[in-house]
Symmetry: C3
Subunit: 160 residues, 3 copies
């Protein structure tokens, strides 16, 4: 079995952006030399998604509209009240299910977490005879829901 890992970095200009990363995934596959296997493409942040759909500007707007209708940007999330007694953004320890998590407060991105859940944060691309085994319209997208800072995606190729 062979494996290959590659990381993509993003720092979008807008809060929400949808970026076609099919070419980058293809490059990672070529670097791996793998002929038969799978490629995991997975957001490493919890306010972003990965999906497979159409490289068509209208459908991208429709996806954004739907996600913002189902999980609207707004001030009313429980997530935003984390540590609000402290007045402003800082680090805080939260004991959560046996694990100490250090967390920023003063968040305004509750919607982005929810959009990530709905859109899902990862896809698997099958590899057959050295190529991505995708249908004619399938393109791989990075969905940024809380951008304007450095965020990362992992591409992991496994196979032979």
């Amino acid at each position: 079995m062979k494996s290959h890992v590659k990381y993509l970095w993003f720092n979008t200009q807008d809060r929400r952006e949808y970026i076609n990363i099919t070419r980058e995934v293809q490059e990672a596959l070529e670097e791996s030399g793998i002929q038969e296997g799978m490629i995991l493409v997975s957001a490493m942040h919890i306010t972003a998604g990965i999906y497979v759909n159409d490289a068509e500007s209208g459908i991208i707007e429709d996806i954004d509209d739907m996600l913002d209708r189902l999980a609207p940007f707004g001030p009313d999330y429980h997530h935003h009240r984390t540590g609000e007694d402290n007045g402003d953004a800082h680090l805080k320890s939260i004991l959560c299910h046996h694990q100490v998590i250090v967390h920023r407060t003063g968040e305004d991105n509750g919607d982005a977490h929810l959009k990530s859940i709905l859109c899902h944060h990862q896809v698997i691309v099958p590899v057959t005879e050295g190529d991505m085994d995708l249908g004619p319209w399938q393109q791989i997208y990075y969905a940024e829901f809380d951008g304007r800072r450095r965020k990362r995606v992992i591409i992991k190729v496994l196979g032979e």
Copy 2:
């Protein structure tokens, strides 16, 4: 490592249909001879989904009702305006994030793309001791959201 690939074709009578493909996935596993591994089951079109849930007609209706409530069939999607200045359906080149995509216009299936995002277009089935390692009620479904034409699903088995 061994791998095996199989494609299923569908051409449904109705626009939306939900088809149990558990037996077909089981057959692909048997053909592969793989004892320990994973099976990727993935729609190759962007207006279809794959999910794991109950082989019960009521829940299938409920899933359809929910998806059509959250992403309703209708005329008001940006996706439908692609190339509308051209009057009717034809091919058009769209330059989208470094990639030239040839795309049909005159679409009416914006809802089907969104349902595919919400439902997700793929699942992974674990394989243990030569069998699909599923829970008692888990059945694998192909969800067609824009049928009445030939569409394809990939089943990719990887393991040993």
Copy 3:
């Protein structure tokens, strides 16, 4: 190729609970001895989900609020009418797409099936140099949508 399988059992006190299982997945990885690969974490019941997001109590409440807004708990699902002519809960055979499925009737958990679809029932965790290759805030959660009975999750590690 190496593989390792492990099952987690849950029996929650509440109907809906969100349980951080990152440590348990880490333990399964250590048991496997795998250095490069993937870990499938997948609910084996159709009224539960697995997701990756924040170990922060506010966002967990927000996820629960959203899922119950999009797929509300309630009596009005088709799924609940299964076998209702029989008066009370019992077993019944349903012939569904070539497969005989034995199914309980008198269900009240239609919402839980739908929440499972929206949340998705599985994630893949990449493994690099013997560690889970997760981003700084990524934690793995079991989402119980119809608890108070024994339910199971599979952790399957594949790699080398």
